[in-house]
């Protein structure tokens, strides 16, 4: 049909949006703190896939210029360069949230979000 052919032409954007929704479902549904960090990582990976696959030219070569070749089409090097900075920022966010989770475990003794809320609401009622 026309719809299936159109979906197969934009297969990379459809994959990126599906990964984003799967990551969002993981963050909202589980109550363990470590699974929420994994869900945030899946969402960041989907955005990287969306951005890098914009620059693809069908029939293009790797963007490395060998001397003595006539002009061919090169794949766009600009989105790949901008995403390298984004990957490092994603790593920093994951490391910071993991170290905060370690301090939370020492304070409350559990990693479950509902139980932490119960412990905090008990001591504030007194």
């Amino acid at each position: 049909m026309d719809l299936i052919k159109s979906l197969l032409d934009h297969i990379n954007y459809v994959g990126s949006v599906t990964l984003f929704v799967i990551g969002l479902y993981t963050v909202l549904t589980h109550s363990n703190l470590l699974k929420k960090v994994i869900g945030i990582n899946i969402m960041e990976t989907s955005i990287f896939l969306f951005f890098v696959s914009i620059g693809y030219i069908s029939g293009g070569k790797t963007p490395i210029i060998y001397p003595g070749t006539e002009d061919v089409y090169y794949v766009n090097p600009l989105p790949s360069t901008l995403i390298l900075t984004g990957i490092v920022v994603a790593l920093s966010i994951t490391v910071y949230s993991l170290s905060l989770i370690m301090r939370l475990y020492k304070e409350y003794g559990t990693l479950d979000m509902d139980k932490i809320m119960e412990i905090r609401s008990e001591t504030q009622d007194e």
Binding site: V17, Y25, I65, N76, P77, T81, L84, Y96, E107, R120
Partner: protein, 99 residues
């Protein structure tokens, strides 16, 4: 019960996003949004300005070196934050009872 409601809401979100994505140009066509005159300048004049064949490395460390310097500072800040959360201010916990 909570999972079913979230599943229905997120399927609606998936439907809206896919119907918005089908308007973009197909994968690998030449009339991309990002294949404009900036990319043409980088492809044609990259060997003349810097003698580096690798275009991604030449863009990242010559044309746009300021962003790479800022990102190096982000890495440095990440180490400072992790060490300061782990070591400074460790004491007894207020919420755990016993020992």
């Amino acid at each position: 019960m909570k999972k079913i409601i979230f599943g229905l809401l997120l399927s609606g979100l998936l439907f809206i996003l896919i119907s918005g994505i089908l308007e973009m140009p197909a994968l690998g066509s030449l009339d991309n949004q990002s294949y404009n005159e900036v990319t043409h300048y980088y492809i044609e004049n990259s060997i003349k300005d810097t003698n580096a064949p690798n275009m991604v490395s030449a863009i990242m460390t010559d044309y746009r070196f300021f962003d790479t310097l800022g990102e190096t500072i982000v890495l440095f800040t990440a180490i400072t934050v992790v060490i300061s959360v782990r070591i400074i201010g460790v004491g007894k916990s207020h919420y755990l009872k016993g020992d």
